[in-house]
């Protein structure tokens, strides 16, 4: 039996289809990532799975419990960390943790081993009010509070948005540890480097799952040759690349542009094209695609 099983789940807000016929299964102990741009429907999916809203159609079952019928029992076996920090800012770190432990009929002591790794980072500030913590510490406290009742499934909605790179890295290390303890984790993120760390990822767009697979499989199935291009005049380059007949697609990727070429074209042909356009210092290197490249390609295909 999968830990989370979603069948044809749909939810609309007036005329907008926030979630459109989504189905997927997550086996026990998997770290499942949901990747998608803002407005893709990630938060709606989380709110449905955490029993906060009702679906228009379809069903979702968590550890054998239906999110609509058995919502009360579902609540005691899940942990939810909303995208927006939503602990009590006027209570201290310790009071927040104790409060959430008691409303789940448990104690901090009883499950301390679960949160120890995370909580020890913020324990020195335990008498500080939650509202006065830094972004990274807030996330650690929120994760501690979501974990304190030993949930079987953990839902994390963009847990690292707005968090510094060091804290992000620490946070993901903790998630991997939790996964190893058998907790099923469903996490959404806009960061593609984090997607790489998931067992499987779902690419989401306009309320639909475009594809569900492991990051390696997704990268391996990238159908085209991918090159990175830089030149001295980066500003005008993208327009020229987009009008170049040898290229299928081109988009900016950090400090360079990533392009895919038509079958018949080679790097040398592109080089010549750019020289004719008057660019200097042209560098074209073939590269291994990343999750982001795959995602951009799929978005483009989806739009067409």
């Amino acid at each position: 039996m999968p830990s989370v099983s979603v069948t044809q789940l749909s939810k609309s807000y007036s005329s907008i289809k926030a979630l459109d016929d989504v189905s997927f299964d997550v086996p026990k102990g998997e770290l499942f990532g949901i990747i998608g741009p803002d407005g893709a429907g990630k938060t709606t999916l989380f709110r449905l799975l955490t029993t906060l809203i009702l679906p228009d159609s379809g069903s979702a079952v968590i550890e054998g419990l239906d999110v609509v019928k058995d919502y009360a029992s579902v609540r005691s076996i899940i942990g939810y960390m909303p995208g927006k920090f939503s602990l009590y800012q006027d209570l201290t770190v310790e009071e927040n943790l104790n409060f959430f432990a008691t409303v789940f009929n448990t104690t901090v002591k009883g499950n301390y081993h679960l949160i120890e790794d995370i909580y020890k980072h913020i324990e020195p500030f335990k008498t500080r009010r939650a509202g006065k913590l830094s972004g990274g510490m807030k996330q650690k406290l929120a994760l501690s509070c979501a974990l304190i009742h030993k949930p079987k499934v953990l839902f994390l909605d963009e847990p690292t948005t707005g968090v510094d790179p060091v804290s992000r890295k620490e946070f993901w290390e903790m998630l991997l540890k939790l996964k190893n303890q058998g907790i099923t984790i469903i996490v959404s993120t806009p960061y593609m480097d984090e997607a790489r760390l998931c067992d499987r990822i779902a690419l989401m767009q306009n309320g639909k799952f475009l594809r569900i697979d492991s990051p390696d499989n997704i990268i391996a199935s990238y159908p085209q040759k991918l090159c990175s291009v830089t030149a001295d005049n980066m500003h005008g380059l993208l327009n020229d690349l987009r009008s170049c007949p040898y290229l299928k697609s081109s988009f900016s990727f950090g400090a360079c542009y990533h392009v895919t070429m038509v079958e018949s074209a080679t790097a040398a042909m592109l080089d010549e094209y750019l020289i004719n356009k008057g660019y200097g210092n042209i560098e074209i290197t073939e590269i291994k695609p990343t999750v982001e490249d795959c995602f951009m390609l799929m978005l483009k295909e989806d739009e067409q």
Partner: protein
């Protein structure tokens, strides 16, 4: 479960920099300032006298009017025109015009008249001022005729019978407006503390997003809401008691009726207004919305409650609207118990109305809240 939720609420209320201070300051200010300020007794009426007669009698009349204490004596003018200019300039509210030959007419014909003109831009001041003034003039006339009767017993028959009306104001013999206001102010305070504060608190959790985190815990909605209401019920009753003590010490106002009746009504009223607060909190997503809706209702409720102007003097359609105003019932009850000493038996209709409000508002709040969108 409820215990932990309550513990959290109390912690948050006490930790709030603003609320505990406000809870102490508001009743103090309202109880100590409002009854004096919201006072419809009219004093400080500025009087101008036009004495065209300049006789002993007219002089006596002027002296009597001035010494009554209701008026601030402005000036003696030489003619009506000048006195009216004083009114125009805002220096006088009322004119006492004594005609030429006032004393002579009295002595020869036993009848004479004066003219009272009042500025009715401020209606109450004009009406009350002229009625005070005519009372004093009548008094003067009565004592004058008594004097004449004594000095000229022969004239007795020609005076004829005369009536004196001595009004007796029951339950508030000195027409002390403060006695009337204090019980109503207690109701206002109770409304704000038990109706507004928990509603704002719930909307605050919505705005902060913390309600989501609570909603995914096994804590039920009922428990969550009760945990919000109970602290304010306690605070409301404490403040209410504090107000009653203030009334005793500052205004020597002790309820004529039973304390038990007052508290019984207070409890039912608290349940009713907190239910109203919950309904508002259900439909508001932000504090701003909740504030504005509450502000609207409280203004309507206060102005139509009989707090300042009697309900009976409102037009019929307005009186129908006041049927839906819980404040009206509790203010009437408080005044009746405080001043008249009404017992529970006489107040049953009011009690049933308040119970009705409590049931309707709370049912509405629960039904509206159950729905998960």
């Amino acid at each position: 479960m409820l215990k932990y939720l309550l513990e959290k609420e109390f912690k948050q209320i006490m930790r709030n920099k603003f609320i505990p201070r406000m809870i102490i300051a508001m009743p103090l200010f309202m109880m100590l300032i409002m009854p004096w300020a919201a006072n419809q007794e009219v004093t400080n009426i500025r009087l101008t006298v036009v004495d065209n007669d300049r006789s002993v009698t007219s002089d006596e009349l002027v002296r009597k009017v001035v010494s009554s204490g209701y008026f601030i004596f402005q000036s003696v003018s030489d003619g009506s025109g000048e006195a009216l200019r004083d009114v125009d300039a805002g220096k006088a509210d009322i004119i006492l015009d004594i005609p030429d030959g006032f004393e002579k007419n009295l002595q020869t014909e036993r009848v004479s008249g004066v003219m009272i003109s009042s500025n009715s831009v401020n209606g109450t001041k004009g009406i009350l001022g002229s009625s005070y003034l005519s009372t004093i003039v009548n008094d003067f006339a009565t004592s004058l005729s008594e004097e004449m009767m004594m000095s000229q017993p022969a004239a007795l028959n020609s005076v004829g019978k005369s009536f004196t009306i001595v009004p007796q104001y029951k339950f508030n013999p000195h027409l002390d407006y403060k006695v009337f206001m204090v019980p109503a102010i207690m109701v206002m305070l109770l409304t704000m503390i038990t109706g507004f504060l928990p509603a704002f608190n719930i909307v605050g959790e919505k705005e902060a997003g913390t309600i989501e985190q609570i909603n995914v815990t096994p804590a039920s909605r009922m428990q969550f809401i009760l945990a919000k209401l109970i602290p304010y019920w306690c605070i409301g009753l404490i403040v209410f008691t504090l107000c009653m003590l203030l009334a005793v010490f500052v205004y020597s106002l002790i309820p004529v009726g039973s304390l038990l009746t007052i508290y019984l009504f207070a409890v039912v009223y608290i349940v009713a207004v907190s239910g109203m607060g919950l309904v508002v909190s259900n439909y508001s997503d932000t504090m701003q919305q909740a504030m504005f809706v509450m502000f609207f209702f409280i203004m309507m409720f206060l102005l139509m409650s009989g707090l300042l102007t009697p309900v009976a003097s409102m037009p019929d359609w307005a009186q129908y609207i006041t049927i839906f105003n819980p404040l009206k019932y509790f203010i009437s009850v408080m005044r009746m118990v405080y001043l008249k000493g009404s017992g529970f038996a006489e107040l049953v209709p009011y009690f049933l109305s308040l119970c009705g409000f409590a049931v309707v508002f709370n049912a509405w709040a629960i039904l509206g809240y159950r729905k998960r969108s």
